[in-house]
Symmetry: C2
Subunit: 232 residues, 2 copies
């Protein structure tokens, strides 16, 4: 089952990490599975236990594995998707970053809404409606609705049935709190209305209406970002 790790020009822990990655790619270990213990992994990979420990640390930092204290090492559910895959925290100038992210959201999100209108199940549409209602209530209560907002956009992305689009979610996850932060969480009736319009169009299985409603949602977002001072 394991091929023995041989030293070449890469450090041994990197080679061991590559080998564990290969076992996950090949489906030997699946998302959510627990890995064999350190001793067993070391024996089978033909390396020392300290090398295995280093390799596991590397894979934890790459969101491939996660350690559940006292319970072992597991394969992550969204294997290998970085928390900030585009390194956005290193881009200075938050207003410009907000507008640039908006430009990208215009490229992908209306089409995502369109695909969701073609593929969402009735149960998924009901979940979307529940999230819309929660966001509306949080906005009226003056609470931070960022988490639920991300959940709604994530659910819509999952309904596309495209295997890569749900992995684009971390990019949106970065954009939404940034947007709420720089617009100082103004209570925005537009958010409530355009979210509802997107979900109504998906429920009606009307791809063009879903596309248009998401487009309008992004136009509202963009206007709010444009209204903030330039030096943010």
């Amino acid at each position: 089952m394991f091929r023995e790790v041989k030293q070449n020009n890469k450090p041994l822990p990197v080679l061991a990490a590559d080998e564990i990655t290969k076992l996950i790619v090949d489906g030997v270990f699946k998302p959510g599975d627990r890995l064999p213990n350190e001793y067993e992994l070391a024996q089978r990979l033909g390396v020392g236990r300290s090398t295995v420990r280093e390799a596991i640390k590397l894979l934890v930092s790459q969101n491939v594995l996660e350690i559940h204290r006292g319970n072992g090492t597991f394969v992550c559910e969204q294997t290998g998707v970085a928390a900030d895959p585009l390194g956005l925290k290193f881009i200075p100038g938050k207003k410009k970053l907000g507008l640039d992210l908006c430009e990208i959201r215009f490229m992908i999100e209306p089409k995502i809404a369109m695909l969701a209108a073609q593929n969402a199940t009735p149960e998924e549409v009901d979940q979307m409606q529940a999230l819309c209602d929660e966001i509306r209530d949080q906005i009226y209560a003056g609470e931070n609705y960022g988490e639920k907002d991300r959940e709604l956009h994530t659910l819509i992305a999952t309904c596309t049935r495209n295997s890569v689009i749900p992995n684009l979610i971390p990019i949106l996850n970065e954009a939404i709190p940034l947007f709420i932060d720089i617009t100082r969480q103004q209570v925005k009736m537009e958010t409530i209305q355009t979210h509802q319009a997107v979900v109504d169009a998906i429920r009606a299985r009307d791809p063009q209406a879903a596309y248009d409603a998401m487009w309008q949602h992004l136009v509202d977002n963009k206007r709010s970002i444009e209204a903030i001072p330039d030096d943010v």
Copy 2:
């Protein structure tokens, strides 16, 4: 200059890595800069040298820092951008993955070509033409043109002047070799022609023609992927 690292619920090396990251975000260390040596970093962060070593390893695995042997530790130029940011190597079914990536490229690349037509300098257009010529020569010679193909698409993305789009490049970097691999590098006249059409439109500063030419390039790509057997 350095705030002292205090232990909370995160492991000490992670806190030290966060602190170094903050110094980069704040512009104290810039892309390409060399970091102070291990001893100095340890003193200023108020942690042990082994903690600094662990923190540096973490940041190297996240593409924030890179070690030049015998020369020190440097801040990466494309700071924090993962090599495979969407975890694509973990998605099984290469034909479906190819088509799903194609679906995303349709969402973003025609618009990227449009923005490049509005913003590219004459020097950048000349670089694009040189890459087109090299790709054409490699295709005629039956060589693998994946590297130059990635360079061309990367250059076009840089010309958008959007601060996030160049960080989307790793996604395209994943798509292009996959595409060439699964279509078994057929010599494709379409690739030569549509690359040239994209560059001609950018040189003419014609955004709509650039959009259309990139769209056609993707239509050709998609047809080639559709033609391969379903079990790839």
